[in-house]
């Protein structure tokens, strides 16, 4: 129900037949105003977010990362990520590290049949072995960063979560829905709170909680449009427990790519995507 349809109800005010106090009208308008803010549900927000995210599933991104440890030391990495959308919810992702030299050609492959059904593999050139990453590890650190496998692996299955809009807020000059997301399945976090930019439908900020404790928080900035797709070119994820944080920068982003299927194979992983 939209605000306008509510206000489209005609009110008959007749001093002769019935006296309706002015204050009640004001109250009614106010009530309608409040309820109309949550015209969208939390789930709907995330459905919108998913629609945008789906558009990004065909992409190539060059990413640089800096890992900060609690002592202030830094480690720099760069990688390239290829992604291809499949039928329905299916998609594939190939990530290959470029730098530092010790990590050259270390890779990561995702085959998702649906958002909830994913296989992950990792490849380490020194061992010349493909390793399956168990599904339950998706909350664990993505290769030593403060992002989890899920953060990079693609959008989550909405049916595994419940959503609640807490409020609306302006962040970095952008109006946002502040949504509380609670998993229905066992995850490392008990809930997270995200700031989803309205009209852009991307995360600008996200806070992960374990019970009442905020343990991980991320910010996504420098949002630019690439092929009409809003993209945060900078991100920072900090782990409050360890004092560690990871910063990423997108150096180059291409959407609507059309990579062949054989790029997203274990063989390709072994060949380092060449």
């Amino acid at each position: 129900m939209s605000r306008f349809s509510i206000l489209g109800c005609r009110l008959r005010i007749s001093d002769e037949r019935r006296h309706i106090p002015t204050w009640s009208v004001v109250l009614l308008i106010l009530l309608l105003s409040v309820t109309s803010v949550h015209a969208m549900s939390g789930r709907e927000v995330y459905e919108k977010l998913h629609e945008v995210a789906k558009k990004t599933l065909d992409h190539k991104m060059d990413v640089s990362m800096t890992l900060f440890d609690k002592g202030g030391g830094t480690r720099n990495r760069s990688l390239v990520a290829y992604a291809k959308r499949g039928d329905g919810e299916a998609y594939k992702v190939l990530v290959l590290f470029n730098t530092p030299p010790d990590l050259k050609d270390v890779g990561f492959l995702v085959h998702a049949r649906t958002f909830a059904d994913r296989d992950l593999w990792a490849y380490f050139p020194e061992f010349k072995k493909i390793r399956r990453i168990p599904t339950s590890s998706q909350d664990d650190s993505f290769f030593g960063t403060d992002f989890s496998y899920d953060d990079f692996g693609g959008p989550a299955n909405l049916d595994d979560y419940s959503f609640k809009i807490l409020k609306e807020e302006v962040l970095d000059g952008k109006p946002c829905f502040v949504v509380e997301v609670t998993p229905k399945i066992h995850r490392k976090f008990t809930r997270y709170v995200s700031w989803v930019a309205k009209d852009l439908w991307i995360h600008l900020k996200i806070e992960y909680y374990q019970e009442k404790e905020l343990y991980r928080e991320g910010e996504f900035t420098e949002v630019r449009m690439v092929d009409d797709i809003p993209t945060a070119f900078k991100g920072l994820m900090a782990n409050r427990k360890t004092g560690h944080k990871t910063e990423f920068t997108l150096e180059d982003v291409q959407y609507h790519t059309s990579f062949p299927d054989d790029l997203f194979t274990q063989r390709s992983l072994e060949r380092a995507g060449k």
């Binding site: 890992l67 440890d69 030391g73 480690r75 010790d102 990590l103 270390v106 990792a122 380490f124 050139p125 020194e126 061992f127 072995k129 390793r131 990453i133 168990p134 339950s136 590890s137 664990d140 650190s141 290769f143 030593g144 782990n239 427990k241 360890t242």
Partner: protein
């Protein structure tokens, strides 16, 4: 008059006056309880530590899958993971390495799949609690290693530091990429554990695609037996599926040997303590005759007198037992290192931090000490009640000789010895699996023998003194005759001192002869199988203190043969197999080559049979111990589990081998490699060309091959010497207990003779007054004590020889085989008797001086 008053007003006075006697009695019980306590503590500590290690390493694994020592293909993992009901199945490699340089400390390497292992074990490399700055780099690089914080601090190692470890493939460099907090596996082995990713471990330690174990956890609600069956069903034959607790049971079998040896020593020590208590109470009864008479005259009942002496004994034994429990901890600390090294060598790096004990064991050991003391005090306490008031007050002579030389004691003695023989016969004829064939039965036989002989000591002493008086005393003059007569007068009291010496000497002689037999047998056997000139290994062949072997690749063989001066090089591998629930040793070597220059020792079959039947074929030879335990004969077939399923092996010969008391199989190296795909070597045995200088060849080996790995090139002759020293070291604790027991028995002689001197004060006064010189008085006492020692020594040596034989029959022959023949070490027998006589004479010196200094006038008026 109640017991409390009697103890307070009567006993306390005597305790103050007879401190030395009291000290000796307490020491005897203390030692016995200490020996028992130390056995229990070591046992419990090792088991507890091993269980702890297992639990920390196995985590939530409900079942473990293993197959032999050399590991199995990782392809098996997928089979297990797909079994319905399996929650997680994770691969594990357990191996060892040594620091190269520095402390050269050994550490256990745990190779795990770091991405999933935290599902089973309590830690995660991606967890915030682990200090791993770059988990991706850890996974990506084969040289990544995680150390425990404890080890890093001990070795002064920091994060990102390079360390060098001796591995199968030589000395390798690793980089410390993380530190583990002390939880889960990081708590094992005192922190001497490192974690690597499983693929890195395979690569660095030459495992190819093999793993050592799969740890399995179940989904909730799944039953253990059902899962075990399901998993066993999908596995090829030869794989073992068992609970982690099963490994602990194997360790208990290994500890059994330790318990048996120390158990016998504890028993002996308790007996010595009992005799000292008997001695002390007997002397006390004699010395307090007058007091007893007065008490009886005042109305104290016989039962109260008995309770008085038993009450005193109770107090003494409680003190002795409590002190013994404390001393037991000290003994345990001394022996724990030797025992844990054996466990580490065979199973898993085990390090005992704190000693563990159970209150039940403590109560039992203290209880045994107290009950044994009370039992020892019963006879003299009862005899004290027979003292009539009138005889005591009038100082009429009293002697227990009638009792101890009576028929009942003689019958009891003969009966005990007969029963001992009967029990032994039952043990030997019982089936291997029967409960009769246990160490408890053999202990019973030994106890009965010792008891029987000790009951015989009064009679033996009487015979000895009679013999002495008739044939030897005339040569020693007046002193000799007086000494002999004096001994005859106090047979009962003196017999107790003799019994104490008897126990000590029999312990000494039995140990010496068992050690001698084992040493000679082992040496003969070593001589027959070690005919090489140089032994090459990556760890000292007799390393102790936690520095195990790191196997070497077979590829080194060719390089060694090319070294100038080397005639031939032969690989030797030591492997273990599970056979009927026990770990048996497999000696793997080039049988054809070895038999060319090693005669070997065979109980059945010949060297020619072995050369003809074993190389390159599925035939083996077994040692006597294994053959005896399982009734294996020539031509029998044995089935051993291999990675490709069970394989039938024919028994070509039964050999003499002391490599392991659990059983030994000899197998050709090509046969072993064919079935177990294990191409590692523990020792290379090199023969040098005739005329070549062995030390020059050793230097050439180390020069050529010592850079890429730490090597030991030991002269085989030196190796055999080291074995001898090692064997001697292994008996250090036994020897220590022997010496202490002998010392305490010696003190028993001091007390006995002091009491005798005191009693004969007037007699000595009379002798002095009619012209006997001080030196003559001295010589009488010295001769008496020497005679006591001689009697104890003779009896102890004879019995000791028998006990040694019994020990060999019961504890060693069944494990090592019939070829281990008892070899009497005559020198130790002679030494034992000389020691006994000499030490006793020395012990008599103080009482002799006291007697010689006796004031004639005071002595004549002594009452």
């Amino acid at each position: 008059m109640n017991l409390g008053n009697l103890l307070r007003h009567v006993s306390l006075k005597h305790i103050r006056l007879q401190r030395a006697q009291l000290f000796i009695a307490i020491s005897g019980i203390c030692l016995g309880v200490a020996a028992m306590g130390s056995v229990d503590i070591v046992n419990k500590s090792v088991i507890h530590s091993f269980e702890d290690s297992i639990n920390h390493v196995t985590g939530r694994a409900a079942l473990q899958i293993t197959e032999g020592e050399s590991g199995f293909s990782e392809k098996i993992l997928e089979l297990v993971q797909n079994v319905p009901g399996v929650e997680y199945a994770v691969p594990v490699i357990e191996t060892n390495a040594n620091f190269s340089g520095g402390s050269e400390r050994s550490l256990m390497i745990l190779g795990i799949d770091v991405l999933q292992d935290h599902k089973i074990r309590d830690y995660s490399i991606t967890d915030e609690t682990a200090d791993i700055p770059d988990p991706l780099l850890f996974l990506a690089k084969a040289d990544s290693i995680l150390l425990t914080r404890a080890m890093a601090e001990r070795e002064g190692i920091k994060m990102d530091q390079e360390i060098r470890l001796q591995t199968v493939l030589g000395i390798k460099t690793f980089r410390v990429r993380g530190l583990l907090d002390p939880e889960g596996p990081a708590k094992v082995a005192g922190g001497d554990i490192a974690v690597m990713d499983i693929y890195a471990t395979q690569m660095v330690f030459g495992k190819e695609d093999r793993i050592d174990r799969i740890d399995v956890s179940f989904l909730p609600g799944e039953a253990l037996d059902t899962m075990k069956e399901r998993i066993q069903h999908v596995l090829p034959e030869g794989y073992t599926v068992d609970t982690p607790a099963a490994r602990t049971r194997q360790v208990e079998v290994l500890l059994d040997r330790f318990r048996k040896s120390m158990g016998l020593i504890s028993l002996m020590a308790v007996f010595v303590g009992m005799y000292l208590i008997y001695n002390a109470v007997s002397i006390s009864v004699v010395q307090r005759r007058k007091e007893i008479g007065i008490l009886r005259a005042l109305g104290v009942q016989r039962s109260e007198i008995i309770r008085l002496f038993l009450g005193e004994t109770l107090v003494v034994s409680v003190i002795g037992s409590l002190l013994g429990l404390g001393l037991g901890f000290v003994f345990a600390k001394l022996t724990i290192g030797v025992v844990t090294q054996s466990i580490t060598d065979m199973y898993l790096k085990t390090s005992v931090g704190d000693l563990a004990f159970s209150w039940m064991d403590v109560a039992r050991d203290a209880g045994v000490g107290i009950l044994a003391s009370l039992a020892a005090a019963v006879l003299p306490a009862v005899s004290s009640a027979r003292i009539t008031p009138i005889s005591a007050i009038r100082a009429m002579p009293y002697s227990e000789d009638g009792i101890l030389l009576g028929t009942k004691i003689k019958v009891a003695s003969a009966l005990c010895i007969f029963l001992s023989a009967l029990v032994f016969a039952a043990y030997k004829t019982a089936d291997v699996s029967s409960f009769v064939r246990s160490s408890a039965t053999m202990f019973a036989s030994v106890i009965l023998l010792m008891l029987g002989v000790s009951l015989f000591t009064p009679v033996f002493l009487k015979w000895s003194t009679t013999f002495f008086l008739r044939y030897l005393s005339p040569r020693l003059g007046v002193g000799g005759r007086l000494a002999g007569m004096s001994l005859q007068k106090g047979i009962s009291r003196n017999a107790v001192a003799v019994a104490a010496i008897f126990f000590s000497i029999s312990l000494f002689v039995s140990s010496a002869n068992v050690v001698n037999t084992l040493r000679n047998s082992l040496f003969d056997w070593l001589d027959s199988i070690v005919r090489a000139d140089i032994l090459v290994s990556s760890g000292h062949p007799l390393a102790t203190g936690g520095s195990p072997f790191i196997p070497m690749p077979l590829e080194m063989l060719k390089e060694l043969e090319e070294i100038p001066g080397v005639l031939s090089a032969e690989p030797y591998r030591k492997a273990y197999l599970s056979y009927k629930g026990r770990k048996i040793l497999v000696d793997v070597f080039d049988v054809g080559l070895r038999m060319e220059y090693c005669p070997g020792m065979f109980a059945e079959g010949t060297r020619e049979d072995v050369v003809r039947l074993v190389p390159g074929r599925n035939n083996i030879f077994v040692n006597e111990g294994l053959a005896a335990r399982y009734g294996i004969k020539l031509g029998d077939s044995l089935f051993f589990p291999t990675p490709n399923g069970p394989v039938r092996f024919g028994v070509a010969a039964i050999a003499v081998s002391y490599s392991s008391d659990s059983g030994v199989v000899g197998m050709d190296i090509n046969t072993y490699r064919q079935h177990w795909h294990d191409s590692l070597v523990d020792v290379y045995e090199l023969r040098v060309k005739p005329g070549e200088d062995i030390s020059r060849v050793r230097a050439a080996i180390l020069e050529k091959m010592g850079k890429e790995r730490k090597l030991f090139a030991l002269d085989a002759a030196e190796f055999k010497e080291e074995v001898k020293k090692m064997l001697n070291r292994s008996f250090v604790v036994t020897n220590a207990v022997n010496i202490i027991t002998l010392l305490i028995a010696g003190f028993g002689i001091v007390i006995t003779l002091l009491a005798s001197v005191l009693e004969r004060t007037r007699e000595i006064g009379v002798l002095r007054s009619i012209g006997m010189k001080r030196a003559q008085v001295l010589s009488v006492i010295i001769i008496e004590s020497a005679l006591l020692g001689a009697a104890g020594g003779l009896l102890g040596s004879t019995t000791g020889l028998l006990v040694g034989w019994l020990e060999l029959e019961a504890f060693f022959r069944s494990d090592f085989g019939a070829s281990i023949t008892y070899q009497i070490h005559y020198a130790s027998v002679a030494w034992a008797i000389l020691l006994s006589v000499g030490f006793s004479a020395l012990a008599g010196f103080y009482p002799a001086r006291r007697a010689a200094k006796t004031n004639i006038v005071e002595a004549l008026s002594y009452e």
